[in-house]
Point group: C2
Chain length 217, copies 2
C-alpha cells in the first residue's frame, strides 16, 4: 500500500521505517521538499522509502498518517491540501502538546474540543481516525516490548476507516481484540486528555516502555 | 479511626458504609445538618455511623474524605472550615465534572490547573492527597469485583499524608503495589483529565466495572 507519513520527527520516522519493513511504499512528508531529516531517512530505508513535501506525500498516499507536532498539524494538513486528503483514511497520531512553557506541557485544545475533531471539521472529506497517540512510538511498532495484552484506543466517524485502521494496526502487531473502539471522533478528547496522566507515569517510571491494559468484571 | 466523609451522594455513602464495616467511626457531612439522605444512611449503618453538617463532620474526623460533587467541592470545604481541616489528611475523591450541558460532561478546571491543586491552595494547612477518583465507587470498596492487579493513582505534596492514604487504601483492598504514586499534587491534572477517557470506555462497555492495569517493559 502507498502510505504518506506526515512529519519527520521520531514518531513519523519510526512508523515509516516499520511500514517499509512490512512491505509498504512510504513517503515521508515535511514542510519543505528538501528536509534533511526526511532525505536521510529515505536514503537509509531503501527503494520503497521516499520523501517529499506535505502535498507531494499526501498525493502519493492511499492512506495518510498525521505524525506532525499537534501544534502544527492543522497547518501541515492545510499544506498537504484538502484535495489530497479527500476520501482517504487519515490516521491522526498527534497530540496537541505545547512545550513552550517547559515541562510538563499543556494541551492547546481539550475538554470541549480536540485536535482529532478539529482535523475532521477542517477536512470533512477525509476519513479521520484517531489512534496510536496514547503510547510511545517504540511501542507503536513493537508492542511486544511491553508484555501483556495492553491496549490501544481508536475513534472516528467512519466505520470503514476504522476497519482499515484495524487492519494496519494488526500489521504493526496490534490484534483487533487489543484495540478499544471509543466510538465517534469525539473520543479524541479522552485520548488526548489522557496525555498528562501518561506523562506523569512516564516521569515516575523514568521510561516510556509502558501502556495500560483494561481489567473488567 | 474517626473519618469524615463529605458528600452524601452514592460515592460518599458507599465509602462511608465500607469504612464503618471496617471498624471506623464515620460521620457523613452535608450542607445542612438535617439532610435526609445522610440521616437515613446513619440510621441504617449502626452506632458508628453518624451525620452532621460539613463543619461538624470535618471537626469530628481525624481524616477527611472529599466525596462532594467536584463543582461544589470548594464551597463545601469552605463550609467545613479551614480550621477543621488544618493538619489533617484530606483525601480528594472528587472530579470537577459539569453535567449542566448534558452528557458527556466537561471539566470545570483542567490542563493548567486541577481541583486537587485548587483545594490544596485554598486550604494550605490541609494535607491533600488526590486518590480514588479514577474508578467507580463500587470498585473503590471492592476491588476484587474487577479481576487482576488493576491500579489506583495517588498524588500529593505531603509524604506522610500519602503513607496514611496507602494504609487506608490497603484496608479497602488496595495493596500498596497497586497504588501508583504520581508525585506532587500537580498529578491531579492527569488524574482528573483521565475522566473523559474513562467515561467513553464506560459508555462503550455499558457498565463501570472496569479499571486499568499498567503493563511495562
Amino acid at each position: 500500500m502507498r502510505i504518506a507519513v506526515l512529519g519527520t520527527g521520531v514518531v513519523g520516522r519510526t512508523l515509516g521505517s516499520r511500514l517499509v519493513e512490512l512491505g509498504h511504499q512510504v513517503r515521508l512528508g515535511s514542510r519543505s521538499a528538501g528536509n534533511a531529516s526526511a532525505a536521510e531517512w529515505a536514503a537509509a530505508d531503501g527503494a520503497e522509502a521516499s520523501a517529499g513535501d506535505f502535498a507531494d506525500a499526501a498525493a502519493f498516499g492511499e492512506v495518510v498518517l498525521n505524525c506532525t507536532s499537534g501544534t502544527a498539524s492543522l497547518e501541515a494538513l492545510e499544506a498537504a491540501g484538502a484535495a489530497n486528503l479527500a476520501g482517504k483514511l487519515l490516521i491522526d497520531v498527534a497530540n496537541p502538546l505545547d512545550f513552550s512553557q517547559g515541562f510538563p506541557p499543556t494541551l492547546t485544545v481539550c475538554n470541549t474540543d480536540s485536535l482529532g475533531e478539529q482535523i475532521q471539521r477542517a477536512f470533512p472529506e477525509a476519513r479521520v481516525v484517531k489512534a496510536l497517540n496514547t503510547i510511545n512510538c517504540a511501542v507503536m511498532v513493537d508492542p511486544d516490548r511491553v508484555p501483556g495484552d495492553h491496549v490501544l484506543f481508536m475513534c472516528g466517524d467512519d466505520l470503514d476507516a476504522k476497519r482499515e485502521t484495524l487492519s494496519l494496526l494488526g500489521e504493526l502487531g496490534w490484534p483487533a481484540e487489543r484495540v478499544v473502539d471509543l466510538g465517534d471522533i469525539g473520543g479524541a478528547r479522552g485520548m488526548e486528555m489522557y496525555l498528562p496522566l501518561w506523562l506523569r507515569i512516564m516521569v515516575g517510571r523514568g521510561n516510556a516502555d509502558f501502556n495500560v491494559r483494561l481489567a473488567h468484571g
